[in-house]
C-alpha cells in the first residue's frame, strides 16, 4: 500500500537528508550532464587548452566523417539484428522452459550463465573461438573439409559480434518472459482445452497476447542495450592501431573522447546516440498505445 505520511517538523529534515543523494544525482549526474554534454558539443575542447566555441561545426562535420559514418551504420545494423534475435530466441527458450520438463532448473542456470559473466572475460573466450589461425571454429570447419573463415574481419565481424552479444543476452530476456508466462491464469488454458484448441491456437490466441507487456518491455530494454553495447565489440574487434573492425557509435565516442580527447566531437556523437534512443523509445510507446487500443 502506498503510505501517505505527511512529514511534520523535524521529519522534513529527514526527508531532505534521505532524498539528498538522489536529488544531487538527478541534478548533477543526469540532467546536469545532459545540459553539459549539449554545451560541450558546441565547443572544441582538448582539456589542455581552454574550450573554444565551435558553433555547429562538430555536428556539421559528422556526415563527412568516414569513421562516424561507419559507426552510425554499424550501430543500426547491429541493433537491427541483435534486438529481434535476442527477443525471439529468449521467448522460445522461455516457452520451452515453461513446459515444466525434467531438468528445467539446470536449463535455467545454463541459459543465465552468460548473462552474469563479465563480457570482457567471456569476450576473450570468443576471440579464441573466432581466431583466424587455429581458432576453435576454424579448426572444426577445416576438420570437416571447409575453408577457414575470417570471423573478425571487416566483412564478417558484424555477424560474429551479434552472435556473441545475443548469446550473452538470452538469459535476461528468458527470465522476463518466464515471469510473464507464469502470471497467465491457468483457467485461460482450461477453457481453451474445453473448446478443443490446438497447441498453436493456445500459443497464438492466449499466450502471445498475454505476453504483450513483457514483449514490449523486453524490446525497449534490448533496444537501449543494443545502442550502448560496448564490451564485446571492444574486445572482439579492436585493431592494433586503436580502431575497430566494426566500430559502433559508443566505440567512436570512446575513441574521440577518451583516446584523442576531442571532447566536443565526442559530445556531439553522444547527443546523436541519445537522440536515436529517445526517438526509438517514443516510437515503441506510440506503437504500444496503438496496439493496446485495438487489443
Amino acid at each position: 500500500m502506498m503510505a501517505n505520511l505527511r512529514p511534520l517538523g523535524l521529519e522534513r529534515a529527514w526527508l531532505l537528508i534521505f532524498l539528498l543523494p538522489t536529488l544531487f544525482g538527478l541534478a548533477l549526474g543526469a540532467f546536469g550532464s545532459i545540459f553539459a554534454t549539449l554545451s560541450i558539443s558546441f565547443m572544441d575542447w582538448d582539456l589542455l587548452t581552454p574550450p573554444v566555441a565551435a558553433g555547429f561545426s562538430n555536428y556539421v562535420g559528422l556526415p563527412d566523417d568516414r569513421l562516424f559514418n561507419q559507426a552510425f551504420w554499424n550501430t543500426l545494423a547491429f541493433a537491427g539484428l541483435y534486438v529481434p534475435l535476442t527477443v525471439v530466441i529468449s521467448l522460445f527458450v522461455a516457452l520451452g522452459l515453461n513446459r515444466k520438463l525434467p531438468g528445467t532448473t539446470f536449463f535455467r542456470i545454463a541459459f543465465f550463465l552468460p548473462t552474469v559473466s563479465s563480457p570482457t572475460a567471456v569476450g576473450l573466450l570468443w576471440t579464441w573461438i573466432y581466431a583466424q589461425d587455429n581458432g576453435v571454429l576454424n579448426e572444426a570447419i577445416t576438420a570437416l573439409g571447409g575453408d577457414p573463415v575470417r570471423w573478425l574481419s571487416r566483412d564478417v565481424a558484424l555477424y560474429s559480434v551479434v552472435i556473441a552479444n545475443v548469446w550473452g543476452a538470452i538469459g535476461g530476456g528468458m527470465i522476463i518472459f518466464l515471469a510473464g508466462l507464469q502470471s497467465i491464469p491457468r483457467d485461460f488454458y482450461e477453457v481453451a482445452d474445453l473448446d478443443g484448441a490446438k497447441p498453436w491456437q493456445r500459443l497464438w490466441f492466449i499466450t502471445l497476447p498475454a505476453l504483450a507487456p513483457s514483449m514490449f518491455f523486453q524490446t525497449v530494454l534490448t533496444t537501449i542495450n543494443a545502442f550502448q553495447a560496448f564490451d564485446y565489440i571492444y574486445i572482439l574487434t579492436r585493431t592494433g592501431n586503436g580502431n575497430s573492425n566494426m566500430p559502433t557509435l559508443v566505440f567512436s565516442i570512446y575513441r574521440s573522447g577518451f583516446r584523442f580527447f576531442r571532447m566536443g566531437d565526442a559530445a556531439a556523437q553522444a547527443v546523436v546516440l541519445t537522440a536515436i534512443i529517445l526517438v526509438l523509445t517514443f516510437v515503441y510507446f506510440r506503437l504500444q498505445k496503438k496496439w493496446g487500443a485495438t487489443a
Binding site: 502506498m2 501517505n4 505520511l5 505527511r6 512529514p7 523535524l10 529527514w14 526527508l15 537528508i17 534521505f18 532524498l19 543523494p21 538522489t22 544525482g25 549526474g29 540532467f31 546536469g32 550532464s33 554534454t37 560541450i40 522460445f92 531438468g103 536449463f107 535455467r108 545454463a110 543465465f112 550463465l113 563479465s118 563480457p119 572475460a121 567471456v122 573466450l125 579464441w128 579448426e139 548469446w167 522476463i176 518466464l178 515471469a179 482445452d193 507487456p213 518491455f217 523486453q218 537501449i224 545502442f227 550502448q228 560496448f230 571492444y234 574486445i235 592494433g240 557509435l249 559508443v250 570512446y254 577518451f258 571532447m263 553522444a270 547527443v271 546516440l273 541519445t274 534512443i277 529517445l278
Partner: protein, 278 residues
C-alpha cells in the same frame, strides 16, 4: 483428454527438450572450453581435445608473474563492494521516501528519475570525466565508486516497488509511538526488505565488477591500480595467442560472480523479474 492431444503434447515435449539441450550446450560449452584451455600447457594449446592430455595449473602462477591479476581482482572487489554499499544505501533511502512519505512534487520527481533510465551512460560520462579530471581524481579508483553514492533510477525503482508491498500501518503505528522517519526506515522497512536488498546488492556488485567502459576511461594503464576487466583487455593486446594464460585470467574474472550466482540464483533471477514488473 483425448489421445491425439496427449500424443501431440508428448512429441512437443520431446522437441522442446531436444532444443533446450542443444541451446544449453551452446551456453555452457564455451565455459567448459575456457576451463579446459586454462589447464593446458602452452605447447599443447592447439590440441583440440576437450580433456587436456597433460593437465597443469602452471598457467595461473605464470599469469601472476606477467600481470598483477591478484591485485586487479582485489581492486575490482573493493570498487564493486564500495559501489554496492553506496547504491544500497542511497537507493533504498530514496525508495523509502517515494513509497512512504507524501511531499510536494513527489510524482514529478519520480517520473524525472525514471526518465534518466533512458539516458545512455555515454552522455553522462563526458562531463563526469571532465569534473573528475578537474578534481584531480583521474587515474584513481574514486570515479568508479563515488557516483554510486548519488542514487540511481533502477535501484530506487526496485526498492520503492518492494517497500510498497509493506503494510503502511506499520509505519503509521511506529510514528504514533514517536519514531522518527530514520528510525522507521532502519528498524522496520530495511529489515523487512532483505530479499529486495539481496537481489539489488547482487546486481549492483555484478554491474560494477563486470564494467569495462568506465574503468577503461579512468584507469586505462596502471596495472596495479586498475580493475580485472581492464587488466584482461591490456593483456589481450600484449600476449595475443597465448590462449591458456588468457583463459586462466578470464576464468578468474568470471568465477567469483558465477560462484555467487550458483548459491543465490533465486535472487539473481528475482531481481530481473522484479525490474520487469509493472
Amino acid at each position: 483428454m483425448n489421445r491425439t492431444a496427449d500424443k501431440r503434447r508428448f512429441w512437443g515435449d520431446i522437441a522442446a527438450f531436444a532444443a533446450l539441450t542443444l541451446g544449453a550446450l551452446c551456453m555452457v560449452g564455451p565455459f567448459v572450453w575456457m576451463i579446459s584451455t586454462s589447464l593446458k600447457p602452452i605447447a599443447e594449446q592447439y590440441d583440440m581435445r576437450l580433456i587436456p592430455q597433460t593437465m597443469t595449473l602452471e598457467n595461473y602462477p605464470r599469469l601472476v608473474d606477467i600481470m598483477p591479476i591478484h591485485l586487479q581482482l582485489l581492486n575490482s572487489f573493493i570498487i564493486a563492494g564500495i559501489s554496492t554499499f553506496g547504491q544500497l544505501l542511497t537507493c533504498s533511502m530514496a525508495g523509502f521516501i517515494f513509497a512512504v512519505v507524501r511531499f510536494p512534487f513527489r510524482n514529478v520527481l519520480f517520473v524525472l528519475l525514471l526518465i534518466t533510465l533512458m539516458v545512455p551512460a555515454q552522455v553522462t560520462v563526458i562531463p563526469q570525466f571532465i569534473v573528475f579530471r578537474f578534481l584531480g581524481l583521474y587515474g584513481t579508483q574514486a570515479p568508479l565508486y563515488l557516483p554510486a553514492f548519488l542514487g540511481g533510477a533502477f535501484g530506487t525503482f526496485l526498492m520503492r516497488q518492494y517497500f510498497l508491498t509493506i503494510p503502511s500501518e506499520l509505519a503509521e503505528a511506529a510514528r504514533i509511538d514517536g519514531a522518527s522517519l530514520a528510525r522507521i526506515f532502519f528498524t522496520i522497512y530495511l529489515p523487512l526488505a532483505k530479499p529486495a536488498l539481496a537481489a539489488f546488492a547482487i546486481f549492483a556488485f555484478m554491474f560494477s565488477w563486470n564494467d569495462l567502459f568506465q574503468a577503461l576511461i579512468y584507469l586505462p594503464s596502471n596495472m596495479e591500480q586498475t580493475t580485472v576487466t581492464v587488466g584482461l583487455a591490456l593483456f589481450q593486446t600484449q600476449y595475443a595467442g597465448q590462449w591458456p594464460l588468457m583463459m586462466a585470467g578470464s576464468l578468474l574474472a568470471v568465477a567469483p560472480i558465477i560462484l555467487v550466482f550458483f548459491f543465490a540464483q533465486k535472487y539473481f533471477m528475482g531481481g530481473i523479474a522484479m525490474s520487469g514488473l509493472k
